[in-house]
Structures are given as C-alpha cells and as structure tokens.
Symmetry: D2
Subunit: 334 residues, 4 copies
C-alpha cells in the first residue's frame, strides 16, 4: 500500500482526496492537513484517521510515501521545503509560487534533491488534450505551425480569491500557457499580451484583469494565440485548434448532454459543461493515476517543476507586456 | 440551338423557364403555353416570343425539339398524348396522372413510341442525393440493409391544391418513394403505411392526411421507412440515412446560413432552408442539364416513365394500407 | 443502513455491485449469490462478506431490505417467487421471463403482494432520455406525433448467449420498446415488423435475426418506428427523434471524445462510445439511485413489472409479425 | 437602363460581368476594356458590343453611368483618375494601390469630387457576415470584446502573382483587416504581427510570407486576432468568432455538401467549399446589388475609399511589425 498525505482541503484538495479513496485500491490516504474546521470533518467522514492542522506534525507522524500539496499558493513554498527535507515525492498544485525568484530557487532545490515532483497541470491529462498531443507528435497534422486556445470562465472568482491568486494570468491562463508548451514542444521566447477589465470594475481596483489576448513566440517558430475571459455567459469555454502542414485538429466544448431541439426559432443545443470541476473531472483522475504510477515505477514525471517555472514566467511576461504595451522577452523575467 | 416548348407556367414551370433562359446558351425557349393571364406576361417579359393558351396550337406552330410538361396533373395525359403523336422527347413533372390505369397505358405508349421521356423527379439530381447514391453503388457502406427518409413540409398546401393533387402520397411523398427506389435499386413488393391528420381538420374533410409513416418492403430485402408530415414548425425537413454492412451514410438539413450564437440559453443555429424552391434549387437545374444532355446525346433517360408508374403504385398502395390497416402487396395495385 | 442482496454477478450484476459500493454510503451489500467461481471471488475482493451459491440460503441468512436480481433470465421466475414470499422489494433485470404466461402470472403476484418492484430498464434514466422525456411531457415539442429510434449494436453477442436470450427482440430491442412506451405515454395496440439475418448465418440457424425494422401503433395515435441491427461497423448507435406539433427533439450519439481532424480527405470525428457499458454508465447508476430512493421513501417505482410485461408482449408480437408478414394486434399476445 | 463599363476582365472582372448579365435586368454592360485577347472574346460571346483595350477610349465612347475597375492593382490609380475626371461613380477592386501615399491622395481626390465610390470588399456582403454584423450591432452578444478570424487559402497563388500583389497582407489578409473594422466598428490604432514562410521557400525569395498571426488593437478596446495561411491542406478555411458581454457568435466553414459517412474509422464529412470563387459567390453578387442600388438611390456607399486606405495601412503596419518584431502604431504608417 502506498501511504499518502494531503495538505490543503479546499476545492481541489477534496477532488484529489475523493479520487484517491474511490479509484486507487493500492493507496491509503494516511493523513490530511488543513486549516481546520469543515474540511477536516469532511475527511474524517470519508474515513481518514489522522487529521492535522500543522503540516510538520503530519510529516513526522508515521512514514509517508508521498505528499499532495493543495494548500493556498502562499503556503506552497513552506510545504515544499518541509517535504524536500524528508526527500518525499511531491504532487503540487499550480502555481508553485507567485514570485519568480522563489520558484527558481525551489526548482533548483527540487532538482538537487532529485525528488519526484509532479506539477498539477491536470489538463495535459484530459482525453481530448491527450488525443491532440498524439495528433501533433505523430505528425498527423504534419508540422505544427499555429495554435489557438480559447479559455473562458463562466464567471469571475470571489474578489478575495483574486487578491492572493496572482490574477488571471497566474490562476487561470497559466493552464493555457502550460498546454501551449505541451503541444508546441518548444520554449516560449517572447510574449505580447493585451488585457483589460470588461466586467466587474472591482477587479480593476485589485489590479487584475478579466480579459486577455496573448500571443506567444516559441523557439521553434510556432505562432500561438490565447484568448482568456472570466465573463463567459454561455458556460465554460474550453476549445483549441492546432494547424499544421498536413491539416488541423482541435476540439469543441463538451455539452451538458447530446440533445437538440428544433423549433420555429431554430436549432438548439445545450451549453458546455458548467466549469472546470465538471469539464476536467477525468483530468484530475488521470493526473493522479500518472502520479501514483510514477511512485510505483520510479519513472520521470511528465510535468515537472520546470514546467511550473516556465508557465509562471510566461504569465509574468504577459503582465509586463500589458503594462508596457510591448513585446516582452522571457529573458527579461527568467 | 435546341428549340423547346413549355406547357404550364405555375411555380415549377417558371423555375424551368428561368433556368433554361439563364443557364443554357444552347437552348431556345421557342414557345410557352399556359392557362393565360399573368404567367404568359411573365414569359413575355423574360423574352419568350410565342405565347399560347392552346397546347395543340403551340405544337403545330414551328418545329420543336422537345417539350416540358409542367401543367396541372389533370392535363398531363392530354399533353403527353399530343406530344407523343409528334414523337417529341418529353420532360414531364410528377405525377404522370392520379389513375394507375391511365399511367400504365401512357407508359406503354411511351415505350412503344420509343420517345425519350424524363420524369421530373429532380431530387435524384440533388448533390447530396448524388453523393449518397455513389456511396451506395460503390459499396462504400457495403450492402445497403435499411433506409430511413424524413421528409416534412413547413406547412400544408392550399386546400384547393389538395383537392386535385392526389393528396400527401401523390403530391409529396411520391418524391420519397422515388428516392427510395433510386437508392435501394430494387422494386417495392409490399407497403405498410399509417396516416392521419394531426393538423388542419379540413384536410380530413378532403379525405387527405397530413402525417404518414410508411414501411416499404423491397425485392432485395432492404428495409425502408419514410416519415412524412405537412406540419413541420422548424422548417423544411429533408434528411436521409442509409445503413449497410460497412457503415452508414446520410445527410442533415442545409441551414439558411452557417452562423451560430452561444448565450446563457445554449447554442443556437439557423433553421433549414425554407422549402423545396430553396432546398432543391440546384436539383431543378441539374435535372434540366440531364434532360438537355439527353437531347444532345440521344442516351437513355436516368428517370423514366416506369419510375413514374412505380412511385404512383406505391402511393396508391400506401393509401390502401391506411384504409385497411394491413400490409398491401404492390401487385394489388399494379 | 439499507441492507441489500444481489443475485447474479454477470456483466450487469457486477455493474450494480460496483455502483452500490462506490456511490451509496447509505447502503450495505450484505450478501451476494452467484453460480460461483470467479464472480464470488470478485465480490469478496471488493469486501462483500457473505457469499452464496444458493439463493434461498442467502435469503434466509440475515434480514435483507431488498434484493437485486441480475441472474440469467431463466432463473428470474424462481428468484422472484422466493423473494416475494419474504415480501422484499425487488430490482429485476429485463426481461422478467421469455414466456408471456409466466410473466403475466408473476406480475399478478407482484401486484397482489404489493411489493415494490423495479424493472431494470435503465435507459429511461439516461440523462439524454430524461431531457427528451421532459421536452415531451412539458409539451416543448407540442403533442408528440411520431417517434423514431435507431438502436444498433457494434456486433452480435456470442451464439451461446443468443440460444437463451430470447433473441434480438427480447434481449436488445426490448429496451427500445420500453423507451417508446416511456416517451409516447400510451400503450401499443399493433406491431408490424420486418426482420432478417444480414450478418452471421449461424444466427439464422438459431432462429434469431440480426436486423429488424419495427413499426408500433399506439392507442394515442403516435407513429413509432424502430431500427435495430447487431451489425454496426461504426460503433454503438443509439439515437432517437421525437416529432411533435411544435418541433422536434432528439439526440445524437455520444462520441469517444470531442476532437476533430481536418485534412485533405475531409473532416473527421470519433466513433460513438463503444457499447452499452460505456454509453449507459450513468443510466445504471441513476436507476440504482432511483431504486434506493424508492426504498427510502416508499414511493411507487417509475418502471414496474407491467412495463416488463408490455415490452415482452411487443417483442413477441414483432416475432409473430415477421413470421406471418402481417400486422399483429397486441391482444393476440397478451 | 443603367449603362456600365468594366475595365479588367481577369478572374474577378469576369465574375462581375457574368453577374451583371444574369441578374440585373436594369443594367446594360455597355462596354468592357481589357488587355485584350481571350477576355475580350469572352465578353463578346456573352453579348457585350463595345470592346476596348484603351480605357480612355472606352470612357469617351458613349456616356456611361458608372464603371467597375477590376484591372491589375498597378493600373488602378490611372483608371480611377481618368474616371474621376468624368465624375462617374466607381466600383473598385481592392487594394486601391500598394503605396499608402498614392492611396491617401486618391482618397482625398475622391472625397473632393464627392463621387460615389465602392471598394470591392465583397465579404462584408456574405450572408454569414451580414448575420454576424447584425448580432453585433443589435447587441445580441452584448458589447463586442474580442474577435478572432481564421482565414486560410487552399494553396499559394502563382509566384508571378505574388511579385505584384503586395504579398499575403495586401492581396489576402486585407479582406480580414476590412472585416475586422466592419465588425469592431472602430479604428485600428496598433498592429502586432508574426509572419514566416512554412511552405514554398520561393515565396521567401520574393520577400513574401505564407503564414501570419496578427493582433490588432482598436480604439474601442476590442482585442482582435487574425490567423492567415496559404497552406491549408483541408480546403479554404474561413471562420470567425466574436465574443461579447452576452455571448459569442460566429460561423463555421460551408462544406461542399451536407453528407456524412460513418464507418469503422469514425465519422466523416466533406471539406469546405474549394476557394473564394465558390465560397463568396453570393458575396460578389450582393456587393454588386448594393452598388447598383447605390446608383439608383444616390445613397452613401457602405464601403468606401477610406475603408480601402485603412486596410492598406493595417497591412503595411503588419509588414513593419514582422520586420521589426514590435508593436507598430498605425500613425507610423498613415
């Protein structure tokens, strides 16, 4: 049995806990750590025996085989460092941290310690994205030339969340930056981004934006554009198109159901699945499968701490690009 | 130059006239014949010189190379017979006549005279139907096993029209019966049909129906079902699916445009093209191309008088089936 | 805690067992009964303590609150009768039995005993079917006038299965007959069916068919057609269309993923989900939710033993219709 | 009768000639002018009486009501100036000229002369684009926030054409720049573009590109991205999406037909209509309708010489942006 500890039992931590309990007979969630209150009771009800509010206490209580860090971003650094001291494999939710310098140092330490580290970029493990990846790497569309990602949330998060999340680029678009690197299979050299607030003006007061269009330049010359918004009225919008020398591939949104209604006003279908919890249900499960397999086989992680570093740098470059309305080289950030 | 005469300038006659004038530089519409009034003025405005209200007068005025019969069904017999006397090739709108005995005799005479005769089953020449025909004859779907046709009008015709049209089976579904024979490439042996009036009760007073579901048994064993309605609220519904040992093929409706709108209520697209004039615009043109080519090359018509006879017989069998609520053999009609 | 027993641990029994263990914290699977061998070991591994090969032994060992009958059809009668003696609520897989007389008697007994009885017509609980049901009952498409169901399996079952399954109508199309009654909300009066073997000739030797087109007449006048095949080369084909006075509704197949590929040969999308296990995953879960809720609330089952009787009768009428090539009244069967 | 002259009978000139002859009974094509050879014979065959190789000769022969300039871009200036002297309304194909200074002067002169001038940006008159325009101006999608245009040709034009066409931005993407202004209803302030040659290396020798991704900044803040390629293997790709505060709208490609084929390899549909001749057939007709109506009513053109100037400036800015890999203000060009 693989003995896991989980720190952080917010929305994402709970998804991982529930998946681990339901789908991994070879895993025991030995202990969980959380700020306390409801989330610990929740874990207790599901049968977790060891509940902690102090992460170091959790680490020192009985030997763990690996930990899952789903705590607030501001605590990641501390949790990663404590875990590294014990040399335990880490699954860490994105972003590692909001400061590039902090992340760079952590990545260095992780590499020195040679500890298995999986960034929680679960969307790479979405079945549609996996298929697209295959179409690209098997050259089914020839050589990739352009990539266009559309990623729009059905609403802005609570203002309190925005205050500490790092904003649109670091809490939301960072997934799209990672996907772009995943598909283009090259490193970003320059970023040009436009951003503004079209919706709730309070977002502006918090120095964040709710809409952005970003253009990425890659070393291998693939042109990439990403459209982000927090104001989609028609549901969670997650689409992608890759164009290459032999064709194009992509995917449309997954609807709530497959029904249609035709009447005097036209032909109607359902909205997309509501939000990321519904849309990426299998991605969360699949990335955990990959992590557990990693623990079992000792192989390299498919998405590591450097992936976390690169995506953060792209996000910071995008923010700088908007502020200065110019193309920003990634070397200005990294 | 091929010299044509047209008799009948209703809705369909006008389509043929306009197509001949616009798209066939090798054809002259030498004369037209019509009940008179507006339709003759219409032809005059388009530049037709010889206008008649008497068909025999038209036939005896200057030599014609062929005639197009688009007159009311009740006049077809007389117009066909007069034309046959001169041995002129005929393009005739469906149905040939409402009486099976009359049609049988006419078909016999047409065959005896060995006069090129094309039935106006234009839908065979629709690009979608042509593609499906190819999928079937080239065995792209293997051997055809079942066929399902959905054919619904966006509204009932005027009651006056129904009085003389022969009703749903002979004025509307007859196209679907012909398409079924076209695709299945075999002859119908038995018909089972259900029919009723779901819409305007006055249709019932005229002994007609506005809704029917018909099952055809073919010599080669292909199972065929046809759904007809005159009460489609969502536009003209023309769809088809053929299922075979290696796959299925078919087509969906053609929408008014290709736009979509996604909003908080879902995903919306346009209605189908309004009615047969819009939907089968190219079919009317294509069948005329085929007829003109026939005149030029002397080849056999792809849709002849026997096709008119068979489809009429199926329609009459369907009516008998509804009345007696039983399977009817085509031999009971033919 | 609700204490359940399961009899029969074939493909379907295992689905129910697994769903009960994973998604119903308020339920204990107290005991299972099976022919023995692998399936009992499987249940043991999942943590079921009481394993039986004799159904009566299971029933007499500790009190149960309800049983799930997923045994071979030929054993249903015996299992239902033993359970009725104890007055326990029953969830029974379809069909109840292959003999109409047997089923009629069982239904009578179930009604006399007033025992909650749920037929395992899980497709009624499919989210697409639930939505269509709402479109119909809320008159979103006005009054339903025609219904067309397409239901094709990606291959024939093993010949051994066919020997005892009752054949295409009783093991496969019975689901479609039930769905038709579910949507049309009326009783079938007459059946006309065509059927043949287009695929494996050995199916014919077993007196079964692999392809059928069936027409149902309902008391309320709705015209229904059903296309069945066991030879779909393009995956499991489950589609449906209801046409009414204000519009039409339906659903298309659910594809394996949402990707597309456009290249010089056209535009390509994935096949439908492979078979019923994948396609109706949520239906199996939803019907179990409904059954458990029934146990908790004491309400009437949404799909009862009479539903099992009617669907069987339709299937038998379809078989008679094919044999005699005529319309068969349900009164000839029931 | 409106008397028109046409100068230039290449591919586009012939489309206009044929449309005018077939669909405008109120118009006479009084004379045509062309470099000579085949194109004049073509016009003669269609019945045009007055054929010229010298534009001034055409203008002085018999009074015209307006002219259509479809000559090579390098001759536009001369043809426009001669026509302006006579004060005749002009329909001019894009671009007006490749030099911004030349165009600026011509626009000034056109405005001074107050002569009706219609730029041949026919795509504004495409039914899909007209519908999208209505969705935007009627605020069906709320306030427009982002626009994404995908515009890919099924192959590069002949190298000889590229030598004088002005390259990808001035012969092809200029349509997309105009559409962007049409939909966003504001002026472009800055342009950021990436471009390269992914296909035929000879295009590079001619200093042109075959692939570009362009980002436009508008005065009203709408973010716009345009993807262009000359290397689409899957047919002519013309798609568009507008996102606003209440929803999104757009359109997909129009396929060659509406058929599908489902088999063991998936679900297949046809490629898009081959190229602009097929795809924009109705746009060419519609813009001519608008021009003729303009002549009849004396109203303002919906797409004028300033529209030609702005789109050219955007194209030149895009070229400068690629060369200098930076954001370029339109004021640097205009």
């Amino acid at each position: 049995m693989i003995k896991l500890g989980i720190v952080g039992l917010g929305r994402i931590g709970k998804i991982h806990l529930s998946n681990l309990l339901n789908f991994f007979p070879q895993v025991t969630v030995q202990s969980v750590c959380s700020g306390g209150g409801d989330s610990l009771s929740y874990a207790k009800e599901l049968g977790v025996s060891n509940l902690f509010t102090d992460y170091k206490a959790m680490l020192s209580h009985g030997k763990l085989d690996a930990v899952i860090i789903a705590s607030p971003t501001s605590l990641h650094k501390e949790h990663i460092l404590s875990t590294l001291e014990l040399g335990l494999p880490i699954f860490c939710e994105k972003p590692i941290d909001l400061e590039i310098e902090t992340v760079r140092k952590l990545v260095k330490k992780i590499e020195e310690k040679n500890v298995p580290f999986t960034m929680g970029f679960n969307r790479r493990f979405d079945p549609n994205n996996q298929k697209i990846k295959r179409y690209i790497t098997d050259h089914i569309i020839g050589n990739i030339q352009t990539l266009h990602i559309t990623s729009r949330d059905p609403g802005a998060p609570p203002l309190d969340y925005i205050k500490t999340s790092g904003g649109l680029f670091l809490d939301m678009a960072i997934h799209d930056f990672d996907l772009a690197r995943f598909f283009v299979q090259s490193e970003v050299t320059h970023v040009f981004s436009q951003g503004t607030v079209f919706g709730n003006a309070k977002i502006q007061e918090l120095n964040d934006i709710d809409t952005a269009t970003t253009l990425l330049q890659f070393e291998n010359g693939c042109f990439t554009t990403i459209e982000n918004s927090r104001n989609s009225t028609y549901g969670y919008d997650q689409r992608l198109e890759a164009f290459g020398s032999s064709g194009r591939c992509g995917y449309d949104n997954i609807r709530e159901d497959s029904t249609y209604l035709a009447n005097s006003e036209g032909y109607h279908q359902e909205k997309p699945l509501h939000f990321f919890i519904e849309r990426y249900q299998s991605s969360y499960l699949n990335i955990m499968k990959a992590f557990i397999k990693l623990l079992e086989t000792g192989k390299q992680s498919m998405v590591n701490s450097n992936d976390g570093l690169q995506s953060l740098a792209i996000g910071l470059a995008a923010m700088k690009s908007i502020k200065e309305n110019r193309l920003v080289a990634l070397t200005e950030i990294l």
